[in-house]
């Protein structure tokens, strides 16, 4: 057994420190150390994107990264999207436009959409589909997810609130 190593990862703005085995995947760190179970393990094979989080501002599949690799980094998970008790415009969009059914893929979809809107606040439908191409949904057929992202983009433009001031 390999020796445990100390890692410090800031998750949703809060510093977390733990002694972990190097083989601990980031997704398991997130779910077990701070106990944030919004990040899902889906396929566990780098396909489905349910485990998508932001590490230093970039989306990654947290089932395909060791926690030790994220030592010293900032992680944003779906729990970090809500601000001051208000749903993020993307979360609101998914609710209003029925962007989910079973909800399993939703945290990953939200994180990929969040990264997309940060890079491109005016995405076309094609760009939205491209932005979520690493996330699989077996319920919606994606139509309402695209609408949900469009809803959020419109709301964030109108509100003057970019909704994108979260950490990471």
């Amino acid at each position: 057994m390999a020796e445990k190593q100390s890692v410090q990862i800031k998750v949703n703005g809060r510093q977390r420190e733990a002694m972990v085995e190097p083989r601990l995947l980031l997704v398991h760190f997130i779910r077990s150390i701070p106990g944030l179970t919004g990040t899902h393990v889906g396929c566990d094979t780098t396909h489905c994107g349910a485990c998508t989080v932001l590490v230093d501002g970039k989306t990654v599949k947290s089932c395909t990264l060791f926690a030790v690799q994220a030592d010293g980094c900032e992680v944003l998970t779906v729990e970090g999207l809500m601000q001051d008790g208000n749903l993020h415009p993307l979360q609101e969009g998914f609710k209003e436009e029925h962007g989910l059914q079973c909800g399993y893929c939703t945290p990953g979809m939200l994180m990929s959409s969040y990264a997309l809107l940060r890079q491109n606040p005016h995405p076309s439908e094609e760009e939205i589909r491209w932005g979520i191409s690493g996330n699989l949904c077996r319920c919606t057929g994606y139509q309402n997810i695209v609408k949900a992202v469009q809803y959020a983009a419109t709301k964030m433009r109108k509100g003057g609130n970019d909704g994108l001031s979260n950490v990471a």
């Binding site: 989306t59 060791f66 690799q69």
Partner: protein, 289 residues
């Protein structure tokens, strides 16, 4: 799925990384983007006792033109290639290639160097590098080696790299004026390996006669395939329909696909023919001719 236990080492410099590689020999693997290695470990198809994480070594992430070459650093991510203004404006063949690799999250981690060093004939960059005549720069205990891509891929998952060498740069000769390139891939869905794919890079003269040509094939053999006969045929000829069709047939003849869940071998040969045609036509259009 939980990978087997390993010792994690995080060197800050190349010499430190090489020292670790020398110390641990075949038991060590380099962890770069990790988007092939970590899944392999989770499936327990790879069991390195030591992982040497090179991601914190500085100075290995760049895309620049220098001394007649496009130079891409060993830690440059696919997403950096995808969003680079230089790549977007001058190297559409690289943009074609990087955009069809896996998906956005994987491209945020995955590196061009890793895509080559993994030695998987199903990976996309090898064919493009064959078409472009790239060189792979590696540093080991004896210093720097420059490896031409044509002889880099030895066999399945095996390259010319020694276990104590690290890829630090990919350098690509800057194509002369009137050049164009394209990468055309058929995949069943986003993120899948190619059923087959073709990279073509051309330089033509003002009469539309082919001066230089490189053609690489993805996932139709134990290694990435350089379609040398098709290249030889096209050199000195006009890029007309008949010659393109003949080159495409020669490329298909050079492909050695196997039948698998993506289709029978015969179908894949037919596919190589069609994709070669499309890649050559697009490359020719992009040459500005």
């Amino acid at each position: 799925m939980i990978p087997p236990a390993f010792e994690y080492l995080r060197p800050k410099t190349i010499p430190e990384a090489i020292a670790f590689l020398q110390q641990h020999g075949d038991e060590a693997k380099i962890l770069s983007g990790g988007q092939s290695l970590i899944p392999l470990m989770k499936f327990r198809l790879a069991r390195p006792a030591y992982l040497i994480d090179i991601n914190r070594i500085s100075g290995l992430s760049y895309i620049k033109e220098e001394g007649g070459y496009l130079k891409i650093g060993g830690l440059t991510r696919e997403s950096e290639l995808e969003h680079s203004p230089l790549i977007r404006s001058k190297y559409p063949i690289l943009l074609d290639t990087t955009r069809v690799i896996a998906d956005p999250q994987v491209r945020n981690m995955a590196t061009l160097a890793g895509n080559l060093a993994h030695g998987d004939p199903a990976n996309d960059h090898p064919a493009t590098m064959l078409a472009l005549g790239a060189q792979i720069v590696a540093i080991g205990p004896k210093g720097k080696r420059v490896l031409p891509v044509e002889s880099f891929f030895v066999t399945l998952f095996t390259t010319e790299l020694q276990h104590d060498e690290i890829v630090t740069e990919i350098s690509i000769p800057i194509p002369p004026p009137r050049s164009g390139g394209a990468y055309v891939k058929l995949e069943r869905k986003v993120g899948d390996f190619a059923t087959a794919a073709v990279a073509a890079q051309l330089t033509v003269d003002d009469q539309g006669v082919c001066q230089k040509v490189g053609i690489g094939l993805t996932n139709v053999g134990a290694t990435p395939v350089k379609a040398s006969k098709a290249e030889e045929f096209l050199r000195g000829k006009k890029l007309n329909d008949a010659n393109i069709a003949q080159a495409a047939q020669l490329a298909a003849d050079e492909a050695q696909p196997s039948s698998d869940l993506r289709g029978p071998a015969e179908y894949k040969k037919g596919l190589v023919k069609e994709l070669t045609k499309r890649a050559l036509v697009r490359a020719y259009e992009r040459s500005g001719k």
